[in-house]
């Protein structure tokens, strides 16, 4: 996939991705309105669907709220690349089929607005100048979940994911 990068710093927690004051919302189309609102109130206005969120360490730390993964997915975020992720957010994103990848060093190499290319299978991220950064490719188990658009689709078809 290819997309425009939207760059954030370290420790973007789930309260910044999706503020607690909107947690009573359940409809995805309402949840997406508040994407990253506590980190950048202008984000939902300036974000173009298909964009790639790039962040530093510990993206999605904090609360278990699935709203954080839902809001990014529904807003049209194509993928999230970060130095590391909060683990519950990581699971929630995979379960919803929102691609994400750990890419060490990405925060300093990508600038806001860069067009970047991401290959989830190989874990390679290509920068506008052609430079390549090697991320940590997802395991086949997780890629399988993402390929199916998340665990919901797998369960719908009666499939139960089994360990590697």
């Amino acid at each position: 996939m290819r997309g425009r990068a939207y760059v954030f710093g370290d420790n973007i927690d789930t309260d910044q991705i999706y503020p607690g004051r909107y947690l009573h919302l359940v409809k995805p189309e309402e949840i997406k309105e508040h994407v990253l609102e506590n980190a950048d109130p202008t984000f939902s206005r300036r974000f173009q669907p298909g964009g790639i969120v790039v962040a530093g360490r510990n993206f999605g730390c904090g609360s278990s709220r699935e709203h954080a993964a839902i809001t990014l997915k529904e807003a049209g975020v194509a993928a999230v690349l970060a130095e590391s992720f909060g683990r519950i957010f990581f699971r929630n994103a995979i379960n919803l089929g929102l691609p994400l990848m750990i890419v060490k060093g990405i925060r300093d190499k990508v600038k806001e607005g860069d067009e970047i290319e991401v290959d989830l299978e190989s874990g390679v991220v290509t920068l506008p100048d052609g430079c390549k950064i090697q991320g940590e490719p997802l395991s086949q188990y997780i890629l399988n979940l993402i390929r199916h658009g998340g665990i919901k689709n797998l369960y719908k078809s009666g499939y139960r994911p089994k360990p590697e």
């Binding site: 927690d13 309260d15 910044q16 607690g20 009573h24 919803l96 919901k152 719908k156």
Partner: protein, 417 residues
Amino acid sequence: MHALEKILAAHAGLSEVTAGQIVTCRVDTAGVNDLYLQVLRSFEEMGGEKVRNPDRVVFFFDHYVPAPTIGAAENHKEMREFCRKQGIKNLFDIDAGVCHQILAEKGFSRPGELIVVTDSHTTTHGVFGAFGTGVGATDLATILISGEIWLRVPPVIKIVFDGRLKPYVSAKDMVLYALGKLGADIATYKAVEYAGEAVDRCSVSERMVLGNMAVEMGAKTSYIQPNQEVLDYVRSRTQKPFTVYTTDPDYKYEAEYHFDVSDLEPVVAAPSSVDNLREVAEVEGTHVDQVFVGSCTGGRLEDLRIVARVLKNKRVAEGTRLIFSPATREILAEGLREGIVQDLLAAGAVMIPPGCGPCLGTHQGLLAPGEVAITTTNRNFPGRMGSPKAQIYLASPLTCAVAALTGHITHPGRYIE
């Protein structure tokens, strides 16, 4: 193997597991709180019809109690109907309190159990010798359907607190200190075991603070090898049998960190990250508009006792608000029996019913832009307790109590003997 690995192995039907392995585990207790109507939505979307083990499922109404909006009331209503339809008897309604304290009080937190709740602070239950971990809505819905969850076996890091704490320094100070020194992502994808003399001396309540705050280091779960006091507590809460696992002597921790806490002074996590460590002395004199005492981190009976001891026969400072919430109905009842709730009310504090509200800024005492709060809770992210332009300091119940008394952040040493 580590005790936590033995728990996962037992629940996966395997004789051995190792860090990094993905295993499918039978879940003993699956909990859903009232932030998570999405669990029901995901359950339906995935074609769920009948909950696999209704006796192993617990619903908690704690984040929005009593319902502050019509939307929240609708969510409660739909969850009550779901429980009735599915034969789920363990519904802790708006009168009960905060889920993690209820799990302990009602005997769900037992050694050897696998506890999965739609709440990140489920790491708390590791201090009962269980494997407790938080998940989102869809993960929990898969448990409702299958009774199982996929988990990656975490490596374990060990944090050792040596020495004895000063009387005005608490478990909360100790864990904030470790967080500040090690960073908010030191334990991401990992488990945190606590050990050492200062941990051995912790009460059940203080141990719960350590386990609870492990998630603020990114941890998947926490662990403290249960001592006699913990086992006695569990036995006083349930007749159900349990298995205490122990870690093999040859188990290799991924990392070990040692802190001597004998000379530790009271600390805070300053705005706006949990690892922004400062000594109280460094921020002394900062005016506070609001003090909150409550939550799964700092709303237990011991916490209320500490705050009441500081404020008994005194007044909350002019220009400062003190809000407190006993974590559960049982704590509220005991607080009334001991007279500490009355002491706090007489001092000018405002009590709100058992629940999570202010801790995550859903309702009951939000902060205005520019306001400063100090709180016994667990997170100080921008916007966590109201306006993103408010500032939040995390501290021990004692440090919070003294701030309520003086109206500004104050070293608590002078206020206790």
